[in-house]
């Protein structure tokens, strides 16, 4: 498909180098309109092909659509799309008929697609599946279809970084450029010195989105001012964090934006080589990144003496094995060097001594894609978005018990309540909200009382959690806080690099203490209530020492889930320890079961299913459970056909 525009290369490159108003003639604007699909002369069918839609069957769907067109001998262009953001609506199909606005359909599968295509191609909309239409003043509007930007999920977002996602074809450099892409890059190559770019970013107050919020411009300046024959820029594209997936979807949806962000940043620090460190499992993302780099090279945007500026840049994609600790910059560098991924003591910081001992800047994907936006819109405008301390927008992966899980972008300072209830549609299935876990394993749980907390680096830090990877997992009344914290502790104890004592041994002991309190005492000697209580006291001590002494961020923040939950959900701990009760019913081993003698028919089914042989009784007589043998698995509860088993 790219070949179709191939001869437009020169036109597009001219287009991004000077403003459109100075363009001669209508021919160019016509071509641009054509690439931007403002004008189409045949139906355009877009299929979201990203890692979340593929799981939902997007490839089969694509085959089905091709088949449909072939059978009916219809002409239509099929293009791949990234992710719009609402992952529960995948696969998404867009259909744009000549002269009409683009329609977006949700949850399309190879069965309902026939009705959708039959209807739409005949100017009739199957209402069940239509999601929205995209407003464009050049196009005729469909009736009774909501506009995309008016839908609550999008209405409350401020999509600067995600503006192209799900809209443009991620595999086409022409589409990226015609939507304003690479203009910032060429502008700074033409007009600014590296020091000036650093200055712009410093003035924009952009803070690193990797979690700690270190000022990006400051970091760049250190690297720029460190004398060296070679410098490196590393784009940290590894999430490796349960609950974070926005960078993956972002790369799949708009890979050129990452390339542009890297190119500007590398120029600013004087690096001629940049690496993208990405998990090996992110196959589609890697494929699209490599395609984007290839295209940018072919168009002269990367390589030697770029646009006669004398600047050279090479971008290399490096696959990592997906260790969580490799999100830490020194561990990442060690892994890139081909060594074991383990952090080292700082200082020296990578900006002075990093990859192969050379000055290196490590930024994550989100930080880097903010850069072209800042250059394009200007420092003043950027500073008007967000709060006094934190500027710009923030991406989140929202998952868990909400109506619309997905990737979202909001201005810094947006309240948690707005994200959860207005954008993500509130708690699914009418359940009650319990907590939101922010920041993955190094974050923590916040409850009802914190719903009005504005999202920015400082406010979140004050609650004891951290923005971390910006994964946001929403928990409802059926979730147990202890269980959630236990899950993250287990994750951390397995992902710790194992070098420093507090992190290696501490996370393991913390996990064990949590295991202990979510279990019934085996006998009265081993885990008495007092001991279990002492365990929790120890948990607090351990967490403090971990925070004080760990070598890297992984260990220092490993205590966050424990400390925040102890602070905000202490009563749940007390329930588990003193009452041996898990309100949500998640901690199986705390449950006890009894048999209602009146309801029991003596069918023997439960006794036969019981894995620990704890149920006794003779056929046709009421059975009973020997509590000492019961492991609380609940199989009897689920198998009993007469509701004779009572859970306590």
């Amino acid at each position: 498909m790219a070949n179709e525009y191939h001869n437009h290369k020169e036109i597009l490159l001219n287009y991004i180098q000077s403003p459109l108003s100075e363009k001669t003639g209508n021919k160019i604007s016509e071509i641009i309109a054509f690439i931007k699909r403002e004008k189409v002369n045949q139906p355009i069918i877009g299929i979201s092909l990203n890692s979340s839609s593929i799981i939902a069957g997007a490839y089969q769907l694509k085959d089905r659509i091709l088949e449909y067109l072939q059978e009916r001998d219809l002409n239509a262009e099929i293009i791949p799309l990234g992710a719009l953001g609402v992952t529960s609506y995948e696969p998404v199909v867009t259909i744009q008929l000549p002269g009409k606005t683009k329609l977006i359909y949700k949850n399309v599968n190879d069965e309902n697609i026939i009705a959708i295509l039959d209807g739409t191609l005949n100017n009739f909309i199957p209402e069940d599946h239509v999601f929205a239409q995209v407003k464009n003043k050049l196009h005729e509007v469909w009736e009774q279809v909501p506009f995309l930007h008016e839908i609550s999920f999008f209405q409350n977002q401020q999509r600067l970084l995600l503006s192209n996602c799900g809209i443009i074809n991620p595999e086409s450099i022409e589409e990226y450029i015609s939507n304003g892409g690479y203009a910032s890059y060429l502008k700074i190559l033409r007009e600014n010195t590296p020091a000036e770019v650093c200055q712009i970013i410093e003035q924009s107050n952009l803070k690193g989105r990797g979690g700690d919020g270190y000022p990006t411009g400051k970091k760049w300046k250190v690297a720029l001012e460190s004398p060296s024959d070679q410098k490196y820029l590393i784009c940290n594209a590894g999430e490796s964090d349960p609950g974070a997936f926005m960078e993956r979807l972002l790369i799949e949806s708009d890979p050129h934006k990452i390339v542009e962000g890297i190119a500007i940043s590398a120029y600013a620090i004087g690096a001629q080589k940049a690496f993208i460190y990405i998990e090996s499992e992110y196959n589609l993302a890697i494929e699209r990144l490599q395609m984007a780099i290839q295209q940018a090279k072919a168009w002269g945007l990367l390589g030697h003496n770029i646009f006669e500026s004398g600047y050279n840049l090479d971008i290399v994609v490096k696959r990592g094995a997906g260790a969580y600790v490799c999100g830490e910059e020194t561990a990442l560098i060690s892994s890139l060097e081909g060594k074991r991924g383990k952090p080292r003591s700082k200082p020296p910081y990578p900006a002075t001594r990093g990859l192969f001992g050379k000055p290196t800047v490590v930024n994550n994907v989100e930080t880097l894609i903010n850069v072209p936006v800042i250059i394009e819109k200007g420092v003043e405008w950027y500073n008007s978005v967000g709060t006094a301390e934190s500027k710009g927008t923030k991406l989140f992966s929202v998952s868990g018990k909400v109506e619309f899980p997905g990737i979202i972008e909001v201005a810094m300072g947006t309240k948690l309540r707005d994200i959860i209830f207005r954008i993500a549609g509130g708690i699914a299935k009418g359940k009650k909200f319990k907590a939101v876990h922010i920041g993955g394993p190094s974050g923590g749980c916040l409850g009802e009382n914190h719903l009005d907390t504005p999202i920015d680096f400082n406010s979140i830090m004050l609650t004891g959690t951290s923005l971390g990877s910006a994964g946001m997992v929403i928990l409802d009344e059926d979730n147990c806080i202890i269980d959630t914290v236990k899950y993250f502790m287990d994750f951390l104890q397995k992902e710790s690099c194992g070098v420093c004592i507090p992190c290696r041994e501490g996370t393991r002991r913390m996990h064990e203490i949590l295991e202990n309190i979510s279990k019934r005492p085996k006998d009265d000697q081993s885990h008495t209530t007092l001991q279990r209580f002492k365990g929790v006291m120890q948990l607090e001590n351990l967490a403090e020492v971990l925070k004080d002494t760990s070598m890297c961020g992984l260990g220092r923040k490993a205590a966050n889930p424990v400390l925040t939950s102890l602070k905000w959900f202490r009563s749940e701990y007390e329930d588990h320890i003193f009452d041996r009760r898990c309100e949500a019913g998640v901690c199986q081993e705390l449950r006890t079961f009894e048999i209602d003698v009146d309801a029991c028919t003596g069918c023997t089914l439960c006794a036969r299913k019981c894995p620990s042989g704890a149920i006794y009784g003779t056929p046709k007589n009421a059975h009973f459970i020997v509590q000492d043998k019961c492991i609380g698995c609940g199989i009897c509860y689920n198998t009993c056909k007469f509701s004779a088993i009572i859970s306590k």
Binding site: A323, V325, R340, K342, R344, S345, P347, L492, Q493, K494, E495, S496, C497, G498, V499, C500, I501, P502, R504, E505, G506, T507, R508, R509, E512, Q538, N541, L542, V545, K547, D548, T549, S550, M551, R556
Partner: protein, 574 residues
């Protein structure tokens, strides 16, 4: 250049760029460390050395934090001590509770630290990592259950020896120290030098003890037990028995060994004289014939194994002369036994060495005769010390005695073998005799003393310029070997000692942290060379008698059979 920092409310002066820990220790403030190693890169892994710095959120590891600006530091605040104590408790929670049975009991850094921090209660308990100990190596036992993952062994093996047998594998609480492919040590590239034992804070690495069998043989009246001891053992022994350090205590050692019931006590230095005599004769031959030069020394069994596995193309360059231990060993069973009229199977030959690789050497196939090992058991200096204690010998009250005939006379050159560069010095002295029939004008070759890394020295013998070199520490040998391959090496003779400092710093020596005492070990050796009268191997009268009576000429057929060996390529997991 200097920065004033405030430590515990007291002002001290620190050099710009030095670490906080360095500044503290030069001002007499002790901060505990576990993973730190003098001279090697800091890893900042153990976090024991953390201190509180005003304005910093967390605690800072003092071992890796350079002083660049004025700081306010607290080294022993409540917060710091609480953290250190918790760290030790965490380590203990994953450590076997068998201190009473442990080989390092009373000599364990973890134990000391627990005492120092007043750990008196088990506050943290939980599941312990299960790991089997590895007894496969003849010299070294690995007991991963006791490993606290400080990584010192990894760094010494990698940065000092450059053998790189050990590394850290896996993640999280499964993290472990292991060899290539996590196989047992006997499959690995381990050269048994034992330097990892010397740096291990616990008993995760220790020598394979042959304690019991020596005891058993000593009490067996049917068996004659012969013992020989290395020249360096007589020096380092002093450290454990309140004898004067920095002095050769062979005389006292002879008495002690006899008291313990050894039937004959021999000095391995006698073997060292033979080794010098034979090796220098071999070298003289090679110089005359201009073949297989340069010639490498063959005394260090660590170096020999390393060469066989990593540089087998150097086999022809290595002297075929056995090490002093093996020379005395084969003479005991093939000469001395005959002379005494004792069948070899009734002789039990023990060797006391400063080295764990000697345990490996003794069981090499080449070191056996008709299926019987020349040396039956090798024990380290550390094991000897325990044996002496066991037999209740009050060393301080002993008089000096001489070793038993016939292996009791040595030259001071033989004593020099204990330190790096010493063998080369001894070889140079005898080489002059072999090549020109004359002695060197100046016997002391200062450039071969206190050798750093690699040293070459030119000496004039007759009209020839001979280059004698010494490699101190195995990591320095690779460059030399590459030079030989590229025919750029000028040396005629190269001594290689795997351990930095030589045998006196071997992996079987007593654990010693005091830098002064370590230096005095070397001084003791040089002192005896400066004071004694027989300073060249070829003037050892008893050795010459032995040649006349039994061995014949140097390098004779009999010598080749008894005093020389062969090497072969070795397949290991590199």
């Amino acid at each position: 250049m200097f920065i004033d920092i405030v430590v515990n409310n007291k002002k001290i002066r620190a050099k710009r760029g030095e670490t906080i820990l360095e500044a503290l220790s030069s001002n007499g403030i002790k901060v505990p460390t576990l993973c730190r190693m003098e001279g090697l890169s800091p890893t900042g892994a153990c976090r024991m050395c953390v201190v509180e710095i005003e304005g910093k959120a967390g605690l800072i590891p003092s071992c890796s934090y350079p002083i660049e600006e004025p700081l306010r530091i607290w080294t022993h605040s409540t917060r710091v001590i609480r953290a250190r104590k918790m760290l030790v408790e965490l380590l203990l929670s994953n450590h076997p509770d068998d201190c009473l049975y442990c080989i390092r009991n009373g000599n364990c850094e973890l134990q000391d630290m627990a005492v120092e921090l007043n750990v008196r209660e088990r506050r943290i308990s939980g599941e312990k990592t299960k790991a089997n100990s590895d007894h496969s190596s003849p010299g070294i036992i690995r007991d991963p259950a006791k490993c606290i993952l400080c990584g010192r062994c990894v760094r010494v093996c990698d940065e000092i020896l450059q053998v790189s047998t050990l590394d850290i594998i896996k993640r999280g609480n499964k993290t472990a120290i292991a060899t290539t492919m996590n196989k047992d040590l006997n499959f690995s590239s381990c050269i048994n030098c034992g330097q990892c034992i010397m740096v291990c804070p616990t008993a995760a690495l220790h020598e394979k003890t042959n304690f019991d069998i020596v005891q058993e043989m000593l009490s067996n009246t049917d068996i004659k037990v012969v013992v020989q001891y290395s020249p360096s053992v007589a020096v380092t022994l002093a450290e454990e028995f309140q004898l004067k350090p920095g002095k050769d205590h062979s005389g006292i050692l002879n008495t002690a060994l006899k008291r313990m019931g050894f039937d004959w006590v021999f000095d391995s230095a006698f073997g060292a004289d033979i080794a010098i005599y034979e090796q220098s004769a071999e070298l003289a031959d090679r110089i005359i014939n201009q073949e297989n030069l340069p010639m490498f020394s063959s005394c260090c069994p660590g170096w020999i194994k390393y060469m066989e596995q990593s540089h087998p193309d150097m086999i022809d360059h290595v002297s075929t002369t056995k090490s002093p231990q093996q020379i005395v060993g084969s003479l005991i069973k093939r000469y001395f036994a005959d002379k005494q009229g004792i069948p070899t199977e009734k002789i039990f030959s023990v060797s006391v060495m400063p080295c764990t690789a000697k345990k490996f050497e003794a069981q090499r196939e080449e070191m056996t005769h008709k299926g019987v090992s020349d040396i039956d058991v090798v024990i380290t200096t550390r094991e000897l010390i325990k044996l002496i204690h066991l037999y209740g010998v009050d060393v301080a009250s002993l008089d000096e005695d001489i070793a038993d005939s016939p292996f009791n006379i040595r030259s001071s050159a033989a004593k020099l073998v204990a330190v790096s560069g010493g063998l080369a010095e001894g070889i140079a002295r005898s080489l002059s005799f072999h090549l020109s029939g004359k002695e060197l004008g100046e016997l002391k070759i200062s450039k071969l003393r206190n050798v750093k890394d690699y040293t070459e020295v030119e000496i004039k013998i007759g009209k020839q310029e001979i280059v004698i070199a010494a490699v101190n520490g195995l990591k320095n040998v690779t460059a030399v070997i590459n030079d030989i391959r590229e025919e750029k090496c000028k040396a005629h003779y190269i001594e290689v000692m795997a351990c930095e400092g030589g045998c006196i710093m071997g992996g079987g020596q007593p654990f010693q942290k005091d830098d002064k005492i370590l230096k005095s070990r070397i001084k003791a050796v040089y002192d005896s060379d400066d004071k004694e009268s027989i300073r060249v191997a070829h003037k050892n009268s008893k050795m010459l008698d032995l040649y006349n009576e039994f061995l014949g000429e140097k390098l004779s057929e009999k010598c080749m059979k008894i005093l020389h060996t062969r090497y072969s390529q070795r397949e290991v997991l590199l």
